[in-house]
């Protein structure tokens, strides 16, 4: 029963991961990260239900809060970058290198 949830979670995680790796648009990358976080949330909730305790549920809430905070800062950065560079592509933001 829980296996299905876990498989779905893994699937969402992989989709998100591949999205992060292959997409250039920062917004999409960002959404993929959200997808991965939510995949994790799903796994946490599933395990919580399976084990019959609340630990996983609590962690899911923490993840959501962290994700929300991250969205705020991340979007702010993306907007700033877009303002200066007229692009939202992550490959254009490569000044911080060797």
């Amino acid at each position: 029963m829980t296996t299905h949830y876990l498989v779905l979670s893994a699937l969402l995680f992989v989709i998100g991961g591949v999205g992060v790796l292959v997409r250039r648009n920062a917004i999409v990358v960002f959404m993929c990260v959200e997808l991965m976080l939510n995949a994790c949330n799903l796994a946490f909730v599933t395990f919580a239900r399976q084990n019959g305790n609340l630990d996983g549920q609590v962690i899911a809430f923490f993840v959501m809060i962290v994700a929300a905070a991250e969205v705020v800062i991340g979007l702010a950065i993306i907007v700033t970058i877009f303002r200066t560079r007229r692009s939202a592509s992550v490959d254009d933001v490569n000044l911080l290198k060797y």
């Binding site: 790796l21 992550v90 490569n94 060797y98």
Partner: protein, 633 residues
């Protein structure tokens, strides 16, 4: 007879015999620190301390004479020098007091002479400071009651010699000669130092008394090693083969220095060392003692041969010094039968050689510092006192009957004959050559025609220079007979160094003695025909192979250059290269390697976020994979 026991002493003049060293040392310190302010009286102060030291020496000598002969070895403890290693103290005994009287006596005369000789030198004060320093160091050398104290004096005289050879250090040749003397001496000191280490390890003490009375019984090999190492030290200081090369160059120093240091006193320190250590490390017939005699004979011949070919008056005298010290070494190697003759010859040599060196200085003083004898000639008329005193010294050194050198050198030859006839006859041969080269020197300088440079106006030197000459020549006449006849000196020295069971009796007309006289006469005659009666060319003729051989100091310098200097320079260059490129290259190479690797590695930081993300994924995958693998094990 074995040397007498050493008794601790306090009180009397002997109790304050440290004054002997302290007086000239203070003089030197005062003159060096006082600076230009002491220029006016510096020379007088220098003379005063030397003379004062001589007076103390005489008083010490008189007190020593008051003791029973068997109680004439007095140790005067001073202070704890290096705790755990050695105390510093003085040993006043017949051997050291003989040296003290020679050093301070001849030293004072040379100090007085230098007032005149250095009168026009702007640095005369410094010269006297160095002379005082030398006297102090030399006295410490002969008075110290232990080998470390001796070593301090030993290197101290080396320093004084360095400073004085290089006194006119603005001349590159003088500076080089000074440095060479110091370095060659250091090679000898290397041997002396290791000898002292071995003595300390074997006897657990370095004091003469301690070594003599120590119950330790080191192996024969150890004793031989100590003896040979001491001999190496003696060779360095006394310019014996193979460390002879510095002495001829040392003649760059002012002439009083050559007289005091490089003829009368310092160069005889090797003989002192061998005699002082004789009973302990050079027992009769031991390997070390035989080595001493061989070195002595080889040097007495080498020095004589070099003396025959030199046109530089000081270098000819220097060759002669080498040769005479060879005689002393030969005698010192023979054992108790020879010690007294070695030291007696050392003392008379101190007189007549100082006499001749100062005479040579007087000649140079009158001849604008010309040293080439080919530009002298006929000086006996313009410098009568110098000539007369020089002549006395000359007759003494060639062994003219009844003069000092006759008694002492003959004693050496006689005892060498008894020891080994080969060595004895070689010593006789050396005496013959001495007769030739000394006569050559005298004829070229004082006889024949004038060959002076145009601007030379030779004149007799002032009284302050001639009086020391006169006193020295008096010594050159009578001292030898006084010491040798009736074995006076041998019985005096006996308690300090040991003496043979049967005292030798003096035979005026023994076979070797007559042969020696004949050879000397033949040498002198040959010199007369070549340099007295015949015309002496102003420029030196090319000469045969043998002449060149002698002129080039028997190729000693060439040998040193080929064996040590060139390979040394090459080694130095190699070492510097190796250090810069090899070791430092490795260090810098490692640094550069790390830098280069980092430079390449940082290229991984492309700045593309997605590649970072990929590496995070791969890393996470590897970790998870590893966890699975480890978990399933």
């Amino acid at each position: 007879m074995e040397p007498a026991k050493i008794i601790e002493h306090s009180g009397g003049v002997i109790g304050v015999s440290w004054l002997l060293i302290a007086l000239p040392l203070l003089g030197a310190a005062f003159l060096l620190l006082g600076g230009r302010k002491t220029d006016k009286f510096g020379h007088l102060l220098g003379v005063a301390t030397a003379v004062a030291s001589f007076v103390v020496g005489v008083l010490v000598f008189l007190q020593l004479l008051g003791f029973d002969p068997a109680e004439r070895r007095r140790a005067v403890p001073l202070y704890d020098f290096i705790p755990g290693l050695t105390k510093m103290g003085l040993l006043v005994d017949p051997l050291s007091i003989s040296f003290v009287l020679l050093i301070t006596g001849v030293g004072s005369l040379i100090h007085i002479y230098s007032i005149g000789y250095m009168a026009h030198d702007p640095n005369r004060r410094r010269f006297f400071a160095y002379l005082n320093l030398f006297v102090a160091a030399m006295l410490l050398l002969v008075l110290a009651d232990n080998y470390i104290g001796l070593y301090v004096g030993w290197e101290g005289v080396g320093l004084a010699s360095y400073l004085l050879i290089g006194f006119w250090q603005h001349k590159p040749s003088a500076a080089t000669a000074a440095k060479k003397a110091f370095i060659v001496n250091r090679v000898g000191d290397f041997g002396l130092a290791i000898a002292i280490f071995t003595i300390f390890t074997a006897f657990n003490t370095v004091s003469f008394a301690g070594v003599m009375e120590s119950g330790a019984d080191p192996s024969q090999g150890t004793l031989t090693a100590i003896g040979l190492l001491l001999l190496l030290g003696a060779c360095g200081k006394s310019a014996q083969l193979p460390l002879q090369s510095w002495l001829l160059d040392a003649m760059e120093g002012p002439t009083p220095v050559s007289a005091l240091i490089h003829a009368a006193t310092m160069v005889t320190a090797g003989v002192y060392l061998v005699t002082r250590s004789g009973a302990m490390f050079f027992p009769e017939g031991s390997t070390a003692a035989i080595a001493v005699t061989i070195v002595g004979v080889a040097t007495l011949l080498a020095g004589a041969i070099i003396g025959t070919a030199k046109d530089d008056i000081k270098k000819a005298l220097a060759g002669s010094t080498m040769s005479q010290i060879g005689y002393m070494m030969l005698a010192a190697g023979i054992g108790p039968a020879g010690y007294a003759f070695a030291i007696a010859h050392l003392i008379t040599h101190g007189f007549f050689k100082a006499d001749m060196f100062l005479g040579a200085g007087s000649v140079m003083h009158g001849m604008n510092d010309e040293v080439d004898m080919r530009k002298y000639g006929g000086l006996r008329k313009v410098m009568p006192i110098t000539f007369a005193t020089f002549l006395v010294g000359y007759l003494a050194i060639i062994g003219f009957p009844l003069l000092s050198g006759y008694f002492t050198k003959d004693g050496i030859i006689e005892s060498a004959m008894e020891y080994s006839s080969t060595l004895g006859w070689l010593a006789v041969l050396g005496a013959g050559i001495t007769g030739f080269y000394m006569s050559r020197l005298v004829f070229m300088t004082f006889f024949g025609k004038k060959r002076w440079e145009a601007d030379a106006h030779p004149h007799e030197s002032p009284a302050v220079m001639t009086w020391p000459l006169i006193i020295l020549s008096v010594g050159s006449i009578f001292l030898g007979g006084f010491l040798i006849v009736g074995n006076r000196f041998m019985t005096f020295l006996g308690p300090a160094v040991g003496q043979p069971e049967h005292l030798p009796s003096f035979h005026p007309f023994s076979v070797p003695g007559l042969v020696t006289l004949a050879l000397v006469a033949a040498g002198a005659a040959l010199a007369w025909f070549k340099y007295g009666a015949a015309e002496v060319p102003v420029t030196a003729p090319r000469g045969s192979f043998l002449t060149t051989f002698a002129r080039r100091d028997l190729y000693g310098d060439a040998l040193n250059e080929a064996l040590f200097m060139r390979p040394g320079q090459w080694l130095t260059r190699l070492a510097v290269f190796f250090d810069n490129r090899g070791i430092d290259g490795l260090v810098n190479g490692i640094a550069a390697g790390i830098g280069g690797t980092s430079g390449r590695l940082r290229r991984v930081q492309t700045g593309f976020v997605r590649s970072y993300a990929l590496s995070i994924f791969i890393g996470a995958a590897i970790l998870v994979g590893a966890w699975f693998v480890v978990g399933n094990l």
